[in-house]
């Protein structure tokens, strides 16, 4: 046996020593694993202390240790500590392994004998494993200084501006004709009631004019290749049939366009636009796009009014324009693709879509907006009558096993805002039907108080149903909201003119596919999974891909802005490093053994395995590989090995754990 292994058993004060005979374990290892190369077994009060670390370092230097086992707490706590100590003493850090005898032994067992025996087995397993460890070097990857930001809502805008202002180039891709996202649709923002457009428009303009930002609207990412530091995105820039070189955004084309279309996106179905349109006046960029599905010319080759009246020279309308495919290089990617509004028709008992005066939150936002379809007047679906009484329904589609289990986080404040706006603009009676009022942010509770003082009514109860079937004369011609007022324990029927459904937020309908494109995963509720929910909320499991805003979970504007900025800071940090080191836990293919069967190719969720036609073998890109090892387990030829988790290591560890490595009795 050529390896010299040192085994260190930590007392962790009494945390371990209280349940495990640490001294006995260390001695046992030195004696019974001697034939496996263990040259020293020590126990120490606190291995993670500097003195404990020195113990290891000195032994490496003096005894010439080639492998180190530290039996202590979980490797998630101190693996780095001990590996760094080994490195200081000149030993490759990956030749050090930790064995958990605290979280997995002393803290969870009470029987001292059993705990001691389990510790021995664990160390035995660790020793067998570490024999097969190989010295490894971190993988070095250069970082391309450009960043791709996907999604031009407030989170994406914030991220793009932070990075661009720091002097680096950003490509911002947006699916719609303009950036601005949902925030551009709102009228007022809680709790300060600033006008959304007033605070958003300057930022949008800044994006449009920024020398470091390439803005690609009406565009979608179709494919992402590469890996952290070196992504290559394929982007489809959809034909807008407008030549942006000559277009001035004067608006004559949409004025003259004869085809009216209900605007389901920006106006939430409340208003109309033309077949050639700019979604709203402050849109960035200012150029219109053509809606091919509704354009008269594209339907029956007649009309061309837009082209006819276009005043620019040369004419800016180009019916021959084609989609463009662009390739963009980027070192990092920020995904800020936002949310979809919960579809209220999924709750038939609320009557949305059937009872005209039931509105969704987004419809109501448009109605309040001075630039919206009613010019800011709050009216019933007849577009003229002001309501005398309104119910705001909270938790529509949220906190409900039948729809979404999670709290959508913004609806309480949004509903309070609605209540305020209704009272302010119509003087109507407003009832908020809620389960709990949640206002946990700065100045939010104060806003709630304000709405209470203004005379808003609050009924604690989730609305059961909304109907137009009157039972008594007072209910005739009204919407009747049936709800238990749980604070008085009575079922109430509240006749009102208008109902606003505070619909929850949902992951984008295509979040799963988009996530796949970027190699990131959705959690159980469909939002993208962050690397750590508390300590790493904007990074993802895929290096170089970050998330910001509602893609990560429901959040309001301040929180989205914070995340946009946070993601930008993370990206800037990476760019400044120039080069990043990646953990060398990777799979690799032995080309001589590979039969080219390609089973592994489809198994990799990160597209790290490619088939090389010429050699008839598959190959793994180490920078894309995340080291999960699925391909290693699947390779029928045994041609793939997993660095750090090889077959040899695991099988040796199994034998060690089962104590098959001990010398047979009597020998």
């Amino acid at each position: 046996m050529s390896e010299k292994i040192g085994v260190y058993v930590c007392h962790c004060g009494t945390n371990i020593a209280g349940t495990v005979d640490v001294k006995g374990v260390a001695e046992w290892a030195a004696e019974h694993l001697k034939h496996r190369g263990v040259v020293i077994g020590r126990d120490y009060k606190f291995m993670c202390s500097s003195l404990g670390q020195e113990l290891v370092e000195n032994d490496i230097k003096e005894l010439g240790l080639t492998r180190v086992i530290v039996a202590a707490c979980s490797p998630h706590l101190h693996e780095k500590t001990f590996r760094t100590a080994c490195e200081r003493a000149g030993l490759n850090p990956y030749l050090c392994e930790m064995v958990s005898i605290r979280e997995q032994v002393s803290w969870v067992h009470t029987d001292k004998v059993a705990a001691t025996e389990k510790s021995k087995a664990a160390i035995s397993g660790g020793v067998e494993r570490v024999i097969h460890n190989e010295p490894l070097e971190p993988i070095q990857v250069p970082i391309h200084a450009d960043t791709l930001v996907v999604g031009g809502g407030i989170a994406g805008i914030q991220a793009a501006l932070e990075i661009a202002d720091a002097g680096y180039h950003v490509c911002l891709v947006e699916r719609e004709p303009s950036i601005g996202g949902h925030m551009a649709q709102f009228d007022k923002t809680f709790p300060t009631l600033d006008c959304a457009a007033c605070i958003l428009t300057p930022k949008m303009v800044e994006v449009g004019a920024h020398p470091n930002i390439t803005l690609l609207t009406w565009s979608e990412v179709e494919k992402v290749d590469g890996f952290v530091g070196n992504f290559k995105a394929t982007i489809r820039k959809k034909a807008s049939y407008v030549n942006t070189d000559s277009c001035t955004g004067c608006g004559i084309c949409w004025e003259k366009c004869p085809k009216k279309v209900v605007d389901d996106v920006f106006e939430a179905g409340m208003g109309i636009r033309k077949a050639i349109y700019r979604p709203f006046a402050q849109a960035v960029p200012k150029y219109p796009v053509m809606d091919v599905e509704n354009c008269t010319y594209f339907k029956n080759s007649k009309c061309k009014a837009c082209q006819l009246f276009c005043p620019t020279e040369p004419n800016s309308i180009n019916f021959e324009q084609k989609d463009e495919i662009l390739e963009v290089q980027a070192g990092n990617i920020i995904l800020a693709t936002g949310y979809d509004l919960f579809d209220a028709t999924r709750i038939p008992q609320y009557g949305y879509g059937k009872l005209p005066n039931v509105f969704t939150s987004l419809e109501f936002e448009r109605m309040c907006n001075a630039a919206g379809p009613t010019e800011g007047k709050i009216v019933l679906r007849d577009m003229k009558t002001a309501p005398k009484s309104v119910v705001v329904v909270h938790c529509v589609g949220s906190r409900d096993e039948n729809y979404n289990k999670y709290c959508s986080s913004i609806c309480c404040m949004q509903s309070l805002k609605f209540a305020h706006l209704v009272m302010e603009r119509t003087g109507a009676e407003v009832y908020n039907c809620y389960i709990d009022i949640r206002t946990p942010s700065k100045d939010y509770e104060e806003f709630y108080k304000r709405v209470l003082e203004e005379g808003g009514h609050f009924i604690r109860g989730k609305v059961a149903e909304i109907t137009d079937a009157a039972r008594i004369p007072e209910e005739e011609g009204k919407l009747i909201v049936q709800v238990e007022d749980t604070l008085i324990g009575k079922q109430r029927r509240i006749p009102v003119d208008m109902v606003i459904l505070s619909a929850g937020l949902e992951p984008r309908h295509d979040a799963k596919e988009v996530g796949k494109l970027f190699g990131i995963a959705c959690g159980a509720s469909g939002w993208y999974t962050e690397r750590h929910p508390k300590l790493d909320p904007v990074a993802t499991m895929t290096d170089g891909v970050y998330i910001a805003g509602c893609v990560q979970g429901p959040k309001d504007i301040p929180a989205s802005v914070v995340q946009g900025a946070a993601a930008a800071a993370r990206v800037l940090g990476k760019i400044q490093q120039g080069v990043i080191s990646l953990e060398p836990i990777r799979a690799s293919i032995n080309k001589d053994q590979c039969s080219g069967c390609r089973i592994c190719n489809g198994l990799c969720p990160f597209n790290a395995i490619a088939y090389i036609e010429d050699d008839n073998v598959s190959d793994i890109n180490p920078a894309l590989c995340q080291g999960c090892g699925t391909c290693v387990a699947a390779c029928p030829a045994g041609a793939i090995s997993g660095t750090g988790f090889s077959n040899e290591q695991i099988i040796a560890q199994i034998d060690g754990l089962l104590l098959r490595n001990l010398e047979p009795a009597g020998v």
Binding site: Q349, C395, R399, D400, E401, N402, I435, D436, R460, G461, K462, V463, A464, E465, Q482, V483, E484, D485, T486, G489, K490, Q491
Partner: protein
């Protein structure tokens, strides 16, 4: 921790087939009570009953007419955002209160349930006229007159048979029942 079963767990245990329904998951939102078509006739709303159960107010719950007023329409069950099978819980409360022999006085529900069960065990089928005495008595003279009018009407239309039907394999059927509840020895 006390070894005694909480009242909430006791009730959950009586919900055998639906397996430990999450009565404890109730968020007191009131969807059930807002939905319930019979809530006006209940002394506590369904939500309040769940609250009382979770708070361990056994006597108050058993004295309530809420679960005897449940029509088993399951509207609360399908709407409950916490996934509680509330209608089934109402059945569980009925069972529990009958086992304990503790329920509000003057209710027809328990008497009806018992006579209904007795009838099925005796004949294997249900037969409306046999039910009449138990509830007509409870309704008082006015109820009796109304019931008699209705019954006569139905009789004339050939909708009330004069003799109860019995299933053929009644003995074996009763043996089957006997394997689950004691109903006395076969005569």
């Amino acid at each position: 921790m006390s070894n005694e079963l909480s009242f909430s767990n006791e009730i959950a245990n009586v919900m055998y087939a639906t397996h430990g329904n999450p009565i404890k998951d109730c968020l007191q939102c009131g969807t059930c009570s807002g939905t319930c078509p019979a809530v006006e006739f209940m002394d506590h709303t369904p939500r309040a009953i769940i609250g009382l159960i979770n708070a361990g107010y056994r006597d108050e719950v058993l004295a309530s007419n809420t679960f005897w007023s449940c029509a088993s329409c399951y509207h609360c069950t399908v709407r409950c955002p916490a996934g509680i099978d509330i209608a089934d819980m109402m059945y569980a409360l009925k069972r529990y209160s009958m086992w304990k022999g503790q329920h509000q006085e003057g209710l027809i529900g328990p008497v009806f349930a018992q006579s209904f069960v007795k009838m099925i065990v005796d004949s294997g089928r249900s037969f409306e006229p046999l039910l009449a005495p138990t509830y007509i008595f409870k309704h008082g003279p006015r109820g009796l007159v109304q019931e008699a009018q209705t019954a006569t009407g139905l009789m004339l239309k050939g909708r009330l048979p004069l003799l109860p039907k019995k299933i053929k394999g009644l003995k074996k059927f009763q043996n089957m029942v006997r394997r689950i509840i004691p109903i006395g020895e076969p005569s």
